[in-house]
Amino acid sequence: MKLELNTDGKTMTLPVPGDLISTNVETIRHEANALFGTDASQPPKWNIFILDLNTAKMVDSAGLNLIVSLFKRAQQHGRKMQILYSNPNILRTIAFTRLDKHVEMVKV
């Protein structure tokens, strides 16, 4: 996993290798912590946080909980969040719990 800040500095992408599930969610949370920084008073330099689930086929409840957590942190700083996905089951799962009302879902 490698955090990617785009060239204009407006978006930060966290690519998830494979599924977002209970067995890898803590690793991804650790990466995300680096993304948001330790100082809660310092807003991130980017405007949009992108969680790249392009290669994921499954997101379980632990993965959904992480998405909620990341969304809340982005929201705290007045930032937006997008999720990139290609497998329709990712959108279905996120829509089941109505998270798609909060996070922009972008099909790639």
Binding site: I21, S22, T23, K57, M58, D60, S61, L64, N65, V68, S69, F71, K72, P88, N89, R92, T93, F96, T97, R98, L99, K101, H102
Partner: protein
């Protein structure tokens, strides 16, 4: 054709002093094929002097007429020159190979025809002889060629006998009892021509039946014979109303004392020549019970029409014929709600392990393939005979309507971190049994099953690592439906399905989305014991 009597019949051998080899040689007939008259005569006399019956031919055409007249089986060896007018010795060799490959052929080559040696051997020749031919070389080559012919013919006869037994076994497999009141669906994938995998059923009285699955060690005629012998003992003792425990004990004693001759004081497995793994299910329709006894055999799975399944009896142990004291005990199962038993030999376990799937899913795939009139392609790589039997309690039951188990597992709480491995196993098993399942359905089943099991291991087992949750997946082909059951022994947890989705969507709590997912993914969800047991149905 030139027919000549062997010298032994002319009385010329009495003074030769070669009587030691004669008994063997007199029964052997050799055809010498040589266009040169002197060489032909030399070969004939040399071989006749050793007691062989020798026929001679001047050409390939004449040789083939000679062989055809008496039949190739009448000869034990052909000695043929390579270089002859019209057709050569290799052409005769090809004819013999085509019609009777067991008949050994020796090709005679000249010193300048060395390259023919390789070609001759590749074409099936047993040996070759260089010209000029030494007597000792000739005798050695013919003697070993005759031995080879006889060995090959013996093997062919054995092979034919084994195949005949194998065909008889397949015909008899699962032959119905007196009136066939017990329905049995059998799938048999033999890897050998004959063996000891067998299912037989017996009707004892109007309401008592018995099904017996056996797996004898070995895959040869002895195994087939042992199996047949066991079936006979069982039938005889059942007719005298002997209980299955007594039948197993009796056959165990027969194997130990008569077949394996094991020292009762110091029994070892070193002298075991025959052993029998067996599983018997005795059904009493009057008392609505089934008595299961498995010895050295996987314990059967009993399932109800709604797919709820359990293993009945004790798996493993040692087969009959190893030790004087049997390890297994009979287990009684109530069968008042109908359903079926599924039994299998260990060949299925090996095949399932090779495929990385559950035995039940493979058994289901075998039955589904049989229903389509097909053979399951995956069984081509099976290492052993595979025999499965579905034994239905209520023959009139609409069997396709029922859910049959595909997975029947128990997971300890300490293994929750292995959930990805479990899920991959479920996925392979589902794909084995239900290859036509849509990808979306597969995703929903796996995700819901994952959530339910993790919930059971985390909350139901209350952090106790050795507590376990039971996990079942069942399939109904008629309904095109999968049923997942997950249960734990915890107290359960109250959950408000009306309010929680709204709260989760608006207040975004960072927990408790598993049950929401389950409720959305499954077509139907049924919670029991305050949620400690959940049943989820998926259709497509």
């Amino acid at each position: 054709m030139k027919w000549r009597k062997p010298l032994s019949e002319t009385g010329l051998l009495e003074s030769s002093g070669l009587s030691n080899d004669l008994e063997i040689n007199q029964a052997s007939r050799v055809l010498v094929v040589e266009d040169d008259r002197t060489s032909r005569r030399f070969l004939q006399l040399a071989l006749e002097k050793r007691g062989y019956a020798v026929d001679v031919a001047e050409s390939v055409t004449e040789a083939w007429e000679t062989l055809s007249a008496l039949g190739l089986d009448a000869y034990d060896c052909v000695v043929s020159d390579y270089r002859m007018p019209e057709r050569n010795g290799l052409e005769l060799l090809a004819l013999i190979q085509q019609h009777n490959a067991a008949l050994a052929t020796i090709i005679i080559t000249a010193e300048s025809e060395k390259e023919l040696v390789t070609e001759s051997l590749r074409g099936g020749a047993t040996d070759f002889l260089d010209k000029p031919i030494g007597l000792e070389n000739l005798h050695d080559a013919v003697a070993s060629a005759i031995k080879r012919t006889r060995r090959q013919r013996h093997l062919e006869q054995s092979d034919t006998a084994v195949k005949t037994v194998g065909r008889a076994q397949e015909r008899l497999l699962g032959a119905k009892g007196a009136d066939g009141a017990m329905r049995v669906d059998i799938c048999f994938y033999p890897k050998h021509e004959a063996g000891g995998d067998f299912f037989s059923q017996y009707q004892l009285t109007a309401d008592k039946f018995c099904g017996l699955l056996t797996d004898v060690s070995g895959h040869d005629l002895q195994a087939a014979y042992t199996s047949a012998y066991f079936q006979g003992v069982v039938r005889g003792m059942l007719e005298r109303a002997a209980p299955m425990t007594e039948i197993f004990a009796t056959f165990n004693r027969l194997l130990l004392e008569e077949w394996n001759q094991v020292d009762r004081v110091k029994p070892t497995t070193a002298d075991i020549k025959a052993s029998v793994a067996a599983c018997a299910i005795s059904i009493d329709a009057g008392t609505q019970t089934a008595t299961v006894l498995a010895q050295g055999m996987p314990a059967p799975v009993y399932w109800l029409p709604d797919g709820d399944a359990k293993v009945v009896g004790e798996t493993g142990g040692f087969p009959l014929g190893w030790f004087p004291d049997l390890s297994s005990r009979a287990v009684v199962q109530r069968i008042s709600n109908g359903g079926a038993f599924c039994l299998w030999t260990d060949g299925l376990e090996q095949a399932a392990e090779k495929q990385g799937v559950s035995e039940l899913s493979l058994a289901c795939a075998l039955q589904e393939a049989k229903g389509r009139g097909e053979q399951l392609a995956e069984m081509g790589s099976a290492a052993d005979d595979v025999l499965t039997a579905d034994l239905w309690i209520s023959p009139a039951e609409p069997m396709m309507e029922t859910f049959r188990p595909l997975l029947l597992e128990q997971y300890q709480a300490r293994l929750s971190s292995e959930i990805d491995t479990f899920q991959a196993y479920w996925q392979r098993s589902l794909r084995m049994a239900v290859p036509e399942m849509p990808a979306t359905s597969e995703h929903d089943i796996l995700l819901a099953a994952r959530e339910a099991l993790l919930n059971a291991l985390k909350h139901g087992c209350a952090g106790r690592p050795h507590y376990f949750a039971s996990f079942q997946i069942a399939y109904s082909s008629q309904r095109r439906a999968i049923r997942v059951r997950v249960s734990d022994f915890g107290p359960g947890h109250q959950f408000d399905f009306d309010q929680h989705p709204k709260v989760a969507a608006s207040e975004l709590p960072e927990e408790h989305r598993g049950l929401l997912l389950i409720n959305q993914l499954a077509c139907k969800v049924d919670f029991k014991r305050n949620g400690a047991s959940v049943t989820m149905d998926f259709t497509w």
